[in-house]
Symmetry: C2
Subunit: 132 residues, 2 copies
């Protein structure tokens, strides 16, 4: 049967992040890999781009789906999403790990449940990270 | 000042798609590129993976953010998201183009507005595709 189609998709906007951090290609690449490990995902591919005069986009393709970041250093802003299929990997852990590394002054998050019919909002309970 | 942080993120689940289509790496890669063009985005990178025994993940990095697909041929299911910053590129057009190519029996969609504070639901009006 392969993988279940059930999945959780965490979408997060970080405001008030250091401009230097948001332009640091190597740091951001490491941070995404660390976040993938933190949530128990398996990285199978990646694509990172540095934009001129500023900004980085990075996407990790996971065995469980993907983790991405898009940065706007001049605005202290970055946009993150982590989508993982199945119940074993919790994308909330990746989000929390990135909060700890990027230290946004404000972080806004939404969680969606996918793959089972209507795409619904995840409750706070369903987003809760256990054992982390 | 660079790009605006305003962005729209369309998240869509397709059910009842042909198993053959969802395992056709070349078709899916072409479909994603076509969808990016359809919404007026600029592709700056890509990462595609074929899984064994089935399934394809593809991500296009756009100048405006990203477009991704994850397929589960054995379930006739695929998950799509298209996130674009700024007001010129409309991710809804990419979604509609993929509907026309992949012909799902059922498609569920959510639209989010990002980059301006709380991540809010896009209204149907805001998702509406004009001139397409």
């Amino acid at each position: 049967m392969g993988f279940s189609t059930f999945g959780r998709h965490v979408i997060a906007d970080f405001h008030g992040v250091s401009e230097e951090v948001l332009n640091d290609f190597d740091f951001l690449r490491s941070a995404l890999h660390e976040a993938a490990i933190a949530c128990g995902a398996t990285v199978v591919g990646e694509q990172f781009n540095k934009f001129e005069p500023q900004g980085v986009t990075g996407v990790l393709v996971l065995a469980e789906s993907h983790l991405s970041i898009h940065t706007y250093p001049e605005h202290g802003f970055c946009a993150i999403d982590c989508y993982t299929c199945g119940t074993e990997v919790n994308p909330e852990k990746a989000y929390k790990h990135l909060v700890s590394l990027l230290k946004p002054k404000r972080a806004y998050e939404r969680g969606l449940m996918r793959g089972t019919g209507e795409i619904t909002n995840l409750s706070k309970k369903e987003l809760k990270v256990v054992n982390s």
